[in-house]
Symmetry: C3
Subunit: 309 residues, 3 copies
């Protein structure tokens, strides 16, 4: 099949075949980053603009490195929330960037739907690098790639996603991604962190970590957004950690070859114990490596004219 999308806005829009194509492309590009000369000329003369309304060094760097490894030029624009408020509208900013004739706009925005809003207005492609509480599609794609590498398949797996589901775009994109590829997803977290609409997403909802990880092939811990903690969602950090923090003893409940994932950055000793994060089951750093590969694939499929490196 040929990939024909102008924009990558969310996992929701992608077919299983499109996801497969992105993963296969990432797989074939991954080797480039292991070469002595980590660079191919495929996207020479292409301009990739990153427009970040939330600070994120990690995702921005991953896109930037992916672009450079394909020889694209990158220009970064980070907009502080404060200056955006008094400045021009999002649409005007985007139209202005587009007038400089970039090939692709990578956007992160605190408002859910901001990339979709722009995609409808711009002729150049738009890639969602995280929008509000909505989606973070390249994160889910790199997670899929990591699981596929470890397990050899994506269908028929039991995937447990644990933590603050309600406030996590990573969770939302991954629930869509894994169910779409034929895995069975169970989510767990404090009741205040499990949104009611989960029932409609085809996932199993449980209220204990132990129940969620029982028999799991994949355990994905979410980052606890400490800045959002407080009396709203959970009494204290210590109680959260005692109830929903992943420790070594939990792994015995899961499949013998379970893998542990986390989108990073991790809060050691909060949602995940150091022994687990650094242990042999952890694929957390492999996720980061695959992040570059998946973003190279997305760039290539969107602005590479279909050719492979």
């Amino acid at each position: 099949m040929a990939y024909q999308r102008k924009d990558l806005l969310g996992i929701e829009d992608l077919s299983a075949e499109e996801i497969q194509l992105i993963l296969d492309t990432a797989d074939s590009l991954k080797e480039i980053s292991t070469r002595s000369i980590k660079k191919v000329p495929t996207l020479r003369g292409k301009t990739v603009v990153t427009l970040f309304y939330e600070p994120s060094t990690r995702t921005r760097m991953s896109f930037e490195i992916a672009a450079k490894r394909l020889s694209a030029d990158t220009v970064n624009l980070t907009v502080a929330a404060s200056s955006a408020v008094k400045g021009e509208t999002l649409a005007d900013t985007a139209h202005n960037l587009e007038a400089m004739q970039p090939d692709l706009l990578i956007i992160r925005h605190q408002a859910s739907g901001a990339p979709h809003f722009l995609a409808r207005r711009l002729r150049c492609g738009v890639v969602n690098a995280g929008d509000g509480l909505h989606e973070h599609p390249t994160q889910a794609l790199l997670d899929l790639l990591t699981v596929r590498e470890a397990k050899g398949r994506l269908s028929g797996l039991k995937v447990a996603i644990i933590g603050d589901i309600a406030h996590s775009r990573v969770a939302r994109s991954n629930i869509r991604a894994f169910t779409k590829m034929g895995s069975e997803v169970t989510v767990a977290g404090p009741a205040t962190m499990l949104p009611p609409y989960l029932a409609t997403m085809g996932v199993k909802m449980v209220y204990s970590l132990e129940e969620a990880v029982r028999g799991a092939d994949v355990i994905m811990m979410l980052r606890l957004q400490l800045e959002r903690m407080g009396q709203w969602f959970f009494p204290t950090l210590r109680e959260y950690s005692a109830t929903f923090g992943l420790a070594l003893r939990h792994l015995a409940l899961a499949k013998e070859d379970v893998i542990i994932m986390h989108p990073g950055p991790i809060n050691r000793g909060v949602e995940i114990s150091p022994e687990v994060a650094d242990g042999p089951y952890s694929v957390i750093l492999e996720q980061v490596t695959n992040g570059v590969a998946v973003r190279m694939a997305v760039l290539l499929l969107h602005i590479g004219g279909g050719e492979k490196s």
Copy 2:
């Protein structure tokens, strides 16, 4: 003619022939940004340093994209006003940058004359990207290019520039640029925003928007610097907007093929109504596109050794 300047400090210094040459060069380079591979090797191995003492994502990005499309390397240095105060002198900073052997220094500074001060001290070329209330020559050049494309000529046009003339380096550079190329410039704004020296610049000064746009080929609205507003210059934003904001009804007073310009970012509903900004007469986004082309031309003429791509 050959372009021989070491520095580009202001429109004031340029002859009509030099302006013509820059516009012609921009014209021929503009096509590069429409290619599939938007890059020529012309400035490979050249180092362009941007030194910005005021935040400006737009102008900096435009220069950066222009440099990359010509294969020059760019290094960005943004100096927060606060740290500049306690730090080294401007001359020392510039001498230090020069010691790293860049080919061209692009500077924006809140003090009028800062680029001139540096140009006298540095062997490497200096381009003024906006100095205080003084000049912003590449903005005026991109405006000229945009008008020339729309009208086929620059002489004999009626150009209206509207807004806070007194605090606008864009206005100052454009008044010089358009009068130099043979157009007739009329400025309008509240009396507190029209500086007395305008009389010596060969422009017509009027106090109403309607009078200024009557018969105009070009209407250029200035950005209202909201942070400078207050009781000093105008009672309220609403009154400013009612008196000097451009609305659809005003266009009937102008020539039938009038074009509407704005240096951006626009304050929708303040100095310009959305219907005008987004309407068919608006060339605001074309200005942005031409900004890249004009900056490519400036880079090429200053550090390209005279060769064209």
Copy 3:
């Protein structure tokens, strides 16, 4: 000899032969920055990440320009102290960066030993760009190169280092560098700024500027960290300047062909008078130029596979 180091952490670790090799390599690379096309393809496809926990435009730019002149790709990550506090651990940040498969990590950190801590944990090379009060090895190397160029040798010279020795990683690296290469180092400063361990480093300690510069081949003034001044170390700036600021009259005490150095940025009229900083004996800007050359050499020797350009 072949250079075999994975990491460059401090002058302390380097042998005189390794230092010699770095200086010779810098010497041969320096010419590239004087060409019309200032770029060689030697490090094409290499990724250099700068990770700065302290703001430093100068050193970061020097590394960045050095990398670009060798065709390496650079990605910059500046971590504000505030966000580092609540964020992930230094080791996790570094492991994450490493997972993106850079070839070299350039780190500046306010904690002495941070680069060593990372070097033990990472497979990729680590270069110390300044750690706390400990070392700043590339600064000392560029100082050696500058002295060697001016004097034709490094052994048997009298080097005076003046100022706040106790709080200067530049001083510490330079004391090691010059004594290692056979020069005789004398330090001078207020008693509160001379650390007790100097006695073990093979340097002569004196309490007056005049005594230190008598017969000196090289006078190196340190930057007074004004933000650290106060009643702790010295009564007033004026007294510091009167006692330990270098003025023209002091030069008569030194060798006739003495050279004056300063790591920058300089506080004019505090630790050095303008007449001295801008005078014919000053090699301050040559130090900056050599900074790029030395960093090119370090990049080449660490990730260039041993080949010269």
